[in-house]
Structure formats: C-alpha cells, structure tokens
Amino acid sequence: MNSAIQLYATTLLVYLAVNLIASWALDIQFGVTGVLNFGFILFQSAGAYAAALLSLGPAKASGGFQQYFGGWQLPFPLPLLGAVAVGAALGWLVGWVGLRRLRGDFQAVVLLVVSVVASLVVESLPGFLNGDAGLSLVPKPLLGLAGLTGVSYAWAFVGFCAVVCGLVAILVARLVHSPYGRVLRAVRENDALADAMGRSSSRARMEVFVLGGALAALSGALLVEFTTAWAPSGWLYPETFVYFTIVIIGGRASLPGVAVGAALIAVGIQQAVQLFPIGADATVLASLQWVVIGILTLGFLWWRPQGLIPERVRRFGPTPAGSATRGGEVQEGVGP
C-alpha cells in the first residue's frame, strides 16, 4: 500500500477507536441506565479542549496566533488523564443542575440547551478558547520518539488507540454485567422500584453521568491529539444525535450491538453519499445525510426498537445468579 492509502487507513482506524469509546460512553448513560443526555457532545468537546490546553503551552509562546486561558505543556499521558478528569468534573457539575427532579423528557431538553449555550459562550468569548476559530496546532504526542514519523507514527498512534479502546471495552463490559449494572438497568426500567429496593436512582444516574462524561472526554482528547485542531463547528448539538442513532440502531445496552450499529451507519451512509459526485448540490447532499439519519432512527424505533443486536435480557431461573452473570459477561465481552 502506498503511504497515502496507509495514512487514510490509519485515520479511519483512529476515528473508529474514538467513536467506539464515545458510543459506549453514551450507551452506559442512555442504553443501560436510561439517562437522556442530549448534551453528550459537550463532554467529548470538553475533553478535546482540555487535552489541547494541557499540551499547547501558554498562548504567548505561540506568538499570539491564538488566544486561550491557561495553557500548559504537560508530558504525554497527562493531557489525556487531565481530559478524563475534566470530563468527570463537568459530568458532576452538569448532572448536579441538569438531573434535578424534572421529568425525563424535559431533563433531556435542558441538557440540550446546556450544550447549545456552551458553544455560544465559547464562540462569544474569543479570549477563552479562541472562539469560532477553535484551538489548533495541538502538538501530536511523542512525535519523533524512537524515529516515529509520518506513516510509522500514524500506525503507532493506531496501536495506542486500540489499547485504550480495548481497556475501555473491558471496563464497560465489566460494569454492565456486574451487580451494579443490574442496579443501573433497574433505574432504567423503573426508578421508583429501584429506589424502593434501597438503591438511590438519582445517585446512580449521577454516577453514570460522571463516568460517561469521563469516557466521552477521553474520546475527544484522543481525537484532538490526532487531528491537532478543535473548533465549535465540530460539536454542534446535532452531533450528539449521531451517537444516539448509533446506540438505537445497534441495540441499547448491547455493547457489540452499539459497535456494529455504528459500523453500519458509517459505512452504509457513506457509501450512499459516495455514489453521488458532488458539485453545486453539495449542500443538499449534506442536508440529506442528516435526513437519512433521522429517518433511520424513526424507522428503527418503529420496526426494530431493540436494535440490530438486542440486549441480552437475563431471566432468573433456578441457576444461582452469580454463575449466570459470569457466563453472560464472558460471552458478551468476546463479542462477535
């Protein structure tokens, strides 16, 4: 393969890993626990901005080309970890306000408003995160180390993303199939019942909000370290909806389903778009892409609400609960 194709392939793989992490993060919130986080994209964005600020160094050092607050130059894994911390903290803060005792659908809309307002603030205050132009020239971590540049560096980055993605998959699978995961599903199915069983549903919601926020931030941090730039145009509120579509089509609370669903949406839609050579009608095509996404979501909700690979619903039979859990866990963890 020539280097252009290899670079393209590595780009695809990095985006794959980033999106798997983000989709699973949303799945914990939406699929497993039933929290409608319509502000999801904000958390991915917060991670991207955090990682950028933690690796760019002070704004003055870049010759005043872009303006932002703070700015530190931390060694490699620290910007990622910092982003995770920022995502978790933001999850706590937004959850504290947004998860108040409002009806679930209004809660969702308030979270949507949070994400719209956040981008409004960033665009309105150019000195905060460089406004509409966004942050750019984010250094790629460890570039040039051990002679890694160009194609070899891209493959190394893919490897790193695969490792992170694998760790996240293990974490999420363990969580979902643990007793705690059952609490989360109880909250989804009937929060009053969960409360009655002695589990605070609002606490559980808050916990998945923090965890999902942290993972979403991780996905954003990985992405910005690869693309080197992040701007408000990349986290408009409809972007949240893509992840919802992925989870709905794949199958709520089904980790392999979510991964497969995403693959199908991505490849399916993209190939359809590729069939049209774009020209003057490019804007129409871009709009129709969103229309297709919306129709797919409605279609799945109507014809196959359980998704392509439905969640395994465990029934408590005569077998001891513990062994059944473990069996399910191994099966799903391996995936298709």
Partner: protein, 292 residues
C-alpha cells in the same frame, strides 16, 4: 436604556407567542415537541415565498401561521400519534421529536440552501412612543402578540374546547371518563400550537431583518427557558416567563456583556432549576410523573 426596553418588548412578544404555543401543546398532548422550531422556520420561509410572489407582508405572515398549523397537525397525525398508539413512552417520544426536528430542519435546508434571506422590508421610520423608539412593524408585532395571548386566554378560560384542554392537561384519564373527546381536543391543540409557531417564526424573521435556515435554532434556548421558568406545562407560566425573559435578556445585554445575551436566559433557567425545579407556576410536571 429605554431603547433596550423597547427591543425587549418586541423580543418578548415573539417569544410569548412561541413559548405559549409550545407549552399549550405540551400540556395537552404530553409530547415535548422539539420539532417546534422547525415548524417556526418552515413557516418563516412560507412567508418569504409568499412575499416574493407579491403577497403583502402581513397577509403573508397570517398565511404562514396557518401553514404552521397545518404542518404541526400533519406531523402529529403522521408521526407522533402512531408512535403514541404504539405505547412509546414520553422518554421515547422526545427521541422521536428530535429525529423529526432534524429531518425537518435539513429538508428545509436542502430546499432553500445555506444562504441568507430577507423579506425586503426596508426599516421604516421609527416612531417615538413615550421614549420607546419602535418601527411600525414592531408595534404591529407587539399588537399581534397581545391579540394572540388574549385569544388564547379567553379560549382556554371560556370555551368548551378550552375547558376540555385544561381538563386534559391536569388529568387525562379523568377527562376521558367525563366524556372529553381526547383525540379531537389533542388535534386542535396541535393545530393551535402550530399556528402560534408559524406566527412566531414569521415574526422572528421580520424582527431579525435577515434570516437563514439556522436563525430559529438559538431561539430554542429562550423558548425552553421561558417554558421551564414559568412552569412546565403552564400556558400562563410560559407567557410570564416569556415576557420576563424577553425584557430581561435585552436589558441585561445593555448593562452586562452584550455578546452573552442568550446566556442570561440560560442563567435564569439554571437558577430556576436549582431553586424551584417545577418552575414558578406549575405542578404539572411532577404531577404527571406521579400519575404515570
């Protein structure tokens, strides 16, 4: 700063028509319709199309409001009602409505493109009303809003249909037991809400002077804020929320950081959520939860 107050009144007028329409339909049908802003945008472009073919400004806006009503009823009939009949939860319905919003918004964008449009109404001479500087169009806008509010209030208070709507919003099963034709009442609520969305959208486009497909999207923040502020599901609350927020955002913009005008609405929203999550006037949101 009286000028800011005048603009605040115009914003409040448009916002109240939109927020009351949004809330009215929500309280009656129990569906949180995120496609509301798409209906506003579509109606605004209907008005634009009519003006382009030579219809006069205010007739075009009236027809756009009707178109909004039809569109709203159509969306309810074609998409929402089937899902509700299937037993889709309120939780699921919000995903249905945002899908619809996304489809609607992008269909409009595919049709009109990314460009900027204008009704072509050159700002007329301003009139000075006791220190408030307003154009004739702005005065009419405020008048329209007052008329719509009065009609809504009288309709809800004194007509049989209005009483049925209120009954439905407080306790649907009881209303049904008392012989209220639920389906018809809900359909009328969608139509009325759509008319208000249409009027709100067309007036918003008149107010911003220049508009594109995305002009309405930021307006969603203030509509939601007004609705939650006044109390989820309360038409009266939405009206008061709209007036207070409309004026507050303009005046706050004048004294504080003007760029963050819409953020003021958001700050109010957060404050209300923290202090009084049910809003100032309503019990419906929590009541419904208890009823199921």
């Amino acid at each position: 700063m009286l000028g800011a107050f005048g603009f605040g009144l115009v914003t409040a007028a448009i916002l109240s028509v939109s927020a009351v329409g949004f809330t009215l339909q929500y309280s009656v049908s129990n569906v949180l319709n995120l496609a509301f802003v798409s209906i506003m945008t579509a109606s605004g472009f209907v008005a634009y199309g009519l003006i382009v073919v030579g219809v006069t400004l205010w007739l075009a806006i009236a027809l756009a409001a009707l178109a909004g009503g039809l569109l709203s009823a159509l969306i309810n009939w074609g998409i929402y009602t089937p899902f509700i009949r299937r037993g889709t939860s309120t939780f699921g319905m919000v995903i249905v409505t945002i899908s619809t919003a996304l489809i609607g918004q992008n269909l409009i964008q595919a049709a009109v493109g990314p460009g900027f449009f204008s009704y072509g109404v050159v700002t007329g001479r301003a009139v000075n009303l006791g220190g408030l500087v307003l154009t004739a169009d702005q005065v009419v806008t405020i008048g329209v809003a007052v008329a719509v509010m009065a009609a809504t209030y009288l309709g809800l208070q004194y007509t049989k249909l209005g009483r049925a709507m209120r009954a439905l919003s407080v306790n649907p099963s009881l209303a049904r037991a008392c012989g209220v034709d639920t389906g018809r009442v809900v359909a009328v609520a969608w139509l009325a809400s759509g008319v208000m969305a249409g009027a709100g959208g067309a007036l918003l486009f008149l107010d911003t002077a220049t508009f594109s497909v995305t002009t309405g999207s930021y307006f969603l923040i203030v509509i939601i804020a007004a609705a939650v502020f006044g109390g989820v599901g309360s038409a009266k609350g939405a009206f008061l929320g709209a007036v207070i927020l409309g004026v507050a955002t303009e005046v706050a913009g004048a004294y504080w950081i003007p760029e963050l005008k819409d953020v003021v609405a958001f700050a109010v929203l957060v404050l209300v959520l923290l202090v009084r999550p049910r809003g100032l006037f309503s019990e419906i949101a929590t009541l419904r939860q208890a009823v199921g």
